[in-house]
Symmetry: C2
Subunit: 307 residues, 2 copies
């Protein structure tokens, strides 16, 4: 069972009334109309042995991470979280204090992002821990005037930018402690001409490929410009590879017109550093410009969860 192929198969069978469902499967959130409002929705799962190691990371980190991943999807649309629901399938014999820690992990991050946890479901079984979260969002802006950022808006000539540093998240605590970039995303959407955006969960290369496929464009990335994780600085080739393919960074990857990229990089208006790392081009696929100036194909591979 190939998950990505299955998701493609599902998308091929989805058809919606665009007046009711402006955005269906295939972006970070779906968008559904409710009255005069856009309702954004994203759902994620967090599995012991796949997205977390419960024995090593503990229940509080698991609870935090499942909510944080969905918040990051809301961020990637430049939307505002409205509320969350979650389910927990607990291994039989899961202790009361562990269950409470799990809930505390969810609540701490939900409260921090003003995203009330309004409902859920709990069950026990003879299997490993399985958590899911579904988060709802609304458009940003006092009157909801900020258009959600989609994957499909990239244009040839756009600059490709990222927030933060990339690579090695899974080998540190960064995949557990990352801060969903809600405020940064809204600021970008309000203050500059944001064309396309996604959060980096699978990997820079794979998530950039998602933008390119949705937008019908290609991209080239300058390896020398990547904001490498300083913990990996001793081995630059390995650090570049990690930045391109590790995933779990939960940073924003976005495209803007070049003039906006220059302003953003000069003025650095966000609490988080912005780096220009490449250009959207009229091509198919991804190209890497290596530090020595040579070009190679950039394969859209990422971390395969649990494999």
């Amino acid at each position: 069972m190939q998950e990505l192929e299955f998701i493609d198969w599902i998308q091929g069978r989805s058809n919606f009334d665009a007046t009711k469902v402006p955005v269906g499967p295939g972006d970070d959130c779906a968008i559904v109309r409710l009255g005069d409002n856009d309702l954004l929705v994203t759902t994620d799962q967090l599995l012991d042995g796949v997205h977390i190691n419960l024995a090593e990371h503990g229940p509080r980190a698991a609870g935090r991470k499942v909510i944080a991943r969905s918040l990051s999807d809301i961020a990637s649309m430049a939307a505002v979280p409205l509320a969350a629901v979650a389910t927990a399938t607990l291994p039989r014999g899961f202790g009361e204090s562990d269950a409470q820690e799990l809930y505390r992990g969810m609540r701490e991050i939900a409260d921090e992002y003003h995203c009330p946890l309004v409902g859920g479901d709990v069950a026990s079984w003879d299997g490993p821990l399985c958590l899911t979260s579904t988060i709802f969002g609304r458009r940003a802006g006092v009157t909801g005037g900020v258009e959600p950022a989609l994957r499909s808006g990239a244009q040839v000539g756009d600059a490709i930018c990222v927030t933060g540093v990339l690579g090695g998240a899974w080998k540190s605590t960064r995949h557990l402690e990352f801060k969903p970039r809600i405020a940064e995303a809204i600021e970008l959407a309000i203050c500059c001409r944001l064309r396309a955006m996604i959060d980096i969960s699978d990997s820079l290369a794979r998530d950039l490929q998602h933008i390119c496929t949705a937008s019908g464009v290609g991209a080239e990335i300058n390896a020398a410009d990547l904001p490498l994780n300083p913990d990996l600085a001793d081995d630059e080739p390995a650090a570049i590879k990690a930045a391109l393919h590790d995933g779990e960074d939960y940073e924003l990857l976005f495209t803007v017109p070049q003039a906006w990229a220059r302003k953003l990089c000069d003025r650095q208006p966000l609490a988080t550093h912005i780096t220009r790392i490449g250009t959207i081009i009229d091509a198919t696929g991804l190209t890497l410009i290596n530090p020595d100036g040579s070009r190679s194909e950039l394969e859209p591979i990422g971390w395969e969860h649990g494999t």
Copy 2:
């Protein structure tokens, strides 16, 4: 780990701004405000070996059931489904055709109820099949004028009514093929003075207890009036016990003023039969009036999934 105690513990820690979250955990759906609209939200899980036996029932029935259970929660609020998202955690080695059958099961019931499946998440792991669905709804009525039906509105003197027949659902295919009572619930909410409503998932006794606890009342049930499953007619005491405690009926359990109950039972305005089975009383707990006229305590026990 006692699930119900854990849920009580969570509810004790939930506090919401009522202007933003009019209804939090503890009803069939939460209600969140979005602009001028009420957004209703429910989430459920369906676990192999707990809520379904995959080997016996097959993936299509599993997909149908996880969506149908959430639709039944939307029905119990007398709301209209707006859209659904779902997650599937597949056992490693789950076949492509099984995955497609799972999706078809979800889509068939979602399409039947005009509830677009707008997003989801798929992963594989070394555990059993775990499905979740989150369905969100809106208020019924062209301009959303129909108040959602809560558990907390039952008043002393109300008649207690149910739709359909009760008992033995798990021993038949009824727990797989039930029809969520969306249309019936909306008609009840529009045409009569609906005071409190819930869908029967755990069991009549336990779900009635949920209404009584939320409303601060008690209830008495006339065993002789229960709409027993005719398949169990050979053994009346067993059929009564099944109707009270089996669960998985996914029928509507609701309270209305006595005069409305008489009209409903006389005129039978719904496609589904309505039966008056008891009365809300000023007491604590539930009382059963046995067929011989004697009274006994009705314990709020139900089917313990997976135990």
